[in-house]
């Protein structure tokens, strides 16, 4: 008895008393694992060139983070995995024949401006990968919208430029078959085409409890319902709801970008607002905007509102009392 007391002192601390074995590196490494199916699909459909793009993005992201933190005399956090995710997500959203220099530039911008200039992980307002992509979209608008046919390893053909299903739907009124979209056998950003591969990773993350179901479901649901209204009005002109959520970057964004812990709201109501408004906005850009795809801008736009949403959807803290104009629950003067 006395021995035990000597060994383990009585620890007195405030709550929480139950601690879970979670940490930033653990979460990030799980997300990396969840992205592996999408990477595999991108290599299957677009060849080793896709792998090269992703590796370059990851490498430059890590290098930028390391260099920035060394120069600023800050603790180096390249092992927590967050820079790897930024690099992977950026790489997965690039067209297959994108220049390597462009990939380097985009990764540098994503980490340097999108993340480190705000103060590093946890302080960035915008999703770094999407900010890097938006920068590339403005820097190389032609390269960023030059797509290629999928060239699976089985039928190795040279790059044939092709329009994405979204561009075909928007400008020519042709809708790609849903099975092709589901499997990923269409032109598009290397990691965005295969719905099944992304779903495997996303559901794994959901199973591990690292993403909140409100965000992907709200985002995809809003896209399907809002897009579906116009499909019901005119099914010839507007694509059907499933097409909306299967085509373009919707799937990847819904599971891996909308759910970014840093750049999404923390309150339950705020998460609904963020996801639903983002989904509606994406469809608005798709149907009436100048670009065929609106997922990237819809998320970046909603990212900007996150501090405001958090502020105004804060649930009342126990013991806080009534708001002005409300009847005080107890003992109000």
């Amino acid at each position: 008895m006395s021995e035990t007391l000597n060994q383990e002192k009585l620890l007195v601390s405030s709550s929480p008393h139950f601690l879970k074995d979670e940490s930033i590196p653990k979460i990030m490494h799980t997300v990396i694992l969840a992205l592996i199916p999408a990477v595999a699909a991108s290599v299957y459909f677009f060849g080793l060139r896709a792998l090269l793009l992703i590796l370059v993005c990851v490498g430059v992201s890590l290098l930028t983070e390391y260099a920035f933190q060394k120069i600023r005399n800050k603790p180096v956090t390249i092992y927590d995995g967050s820079a790897i995710i930024t690099g992977m997500l950026l790489g997965l959203t690039l067209p297959p024949d994108f220049t390597l220099f462009g990939a380097i530039l985009g990764s540098f911008f994503a980490i340097c401006v999108g993340k480190q200039l705000y103060g590093g992980l946890g302080f960035n307002i915008f999703n770094p990968a999407l900010l890097g992509r938006a920068f590339l979209m403005a820097t190389y608008p032609v390269f960023m919208t030059t797509w290629a046919e999928p060239r699976t390893i089985a039928k190795a053909v040279d790059a044939v430029t092709a329009a994405t299903p979204l561009a075909l739907a928007k400008f020519e009124g042709k809708f790609a078959p849903l099975t092709d979209l589901f499997i990923g056998n269409v032109a598009g950003s290397i990691g965005e085409t295969s719905v099944i591969a992304i779903l495997i990773g996303g559901l794994y993350l959901r199973y591990k409890g690292y993403i909140n179901w409100k965000l992907p479901l709200g985002y995809l649901g809003a896209m399907a319902v809002f897009g579906g209204i116009f499909w019901l009005i005119n099914p010839v002109k507007y694509p059907n709801p499933l097409f909306h959520i299967f085509a373009g970057g919707a799937m990847l964004a819904a599971w891996f970008m909308v759910t970014d812990m840093v750049t999404s709201p923390v309150t339950p109501l705020g998460q609904w607002i963020f996801a639903l408004a983002g989904g509606v906005l994406a469809v608005v850009i798709r149907l009436w905007g100048g670009l065929p795809e609106g997922v990237m801008y819809s998320i970046l736009f909603m990212n900007a509102f996150v501090p405001l949403i958090n502020k105004h959807t804060r649930p009342r803290v126990f013991g806080e009392g009534a708001k002005e104009g409300e009847i005080a629950p107890l003992g109000g003067s």
Binding site: T99, F101, G102, L105, V113, F135, A138, T139, Y140, P141, F143
Partner: protein, 209 residues
Amino acid sequence: MAENNVSLWGEFKKGLWQDIPPFRLVLGTCPTLAVTNSVKNGVAMGLATLFVLFFSNIIISAVRKYISSQVRIAAYVVIIALLVTVADLFLAAVFPAISKALGPYVPLIVVNCIILGRAEGYAQKNPVVPSMIDALGIGTGYIISLAVMSSIREALGFGSILGFKVLGDWFEPWIVMILPAGAFIVFGSLIAAINYISQRKSAAQKALG
């Protein structure tokens, strides 16, 4: 400020680094962002501003004792508006292409904070000669700032400076640099660089003395 022992060189020099307008004073940022997509436009804008600033400082300093302080801003704006009209008509008559490229930004010099700022902060308290030197320093600093901004943006956005190709054919222009977003990126980076250098400088001075 003591009027007699002002070092004129010092008054000139402060506009080039210590008080360099858009980066240190953060005044006159609107044209800095809007017209610096090519060196030609940037420098033309800088020269027009220098012209207005030079004469407005001289006139305001000369009449500073006759303007009652209640109506001074209105009086300054009338003087500045006159000079801006001169600059605007001159550009339209002699360099119509530049005038067209600069668009509304030449008439907008009238509300450029650098000019009213120097009138308020310097010319109304100092005699004519120091005010003139002050205007020259600040105006030159502004031209240099616009030239640096526009060189970076034109080089990256078109691969050229003043229309001459400086980057080879291998270079794929960064379209973003000639868009407003590029202006903000370059502006922010330059402010950061200047703050970094001056922090290093003051740290070195502290270490010495």
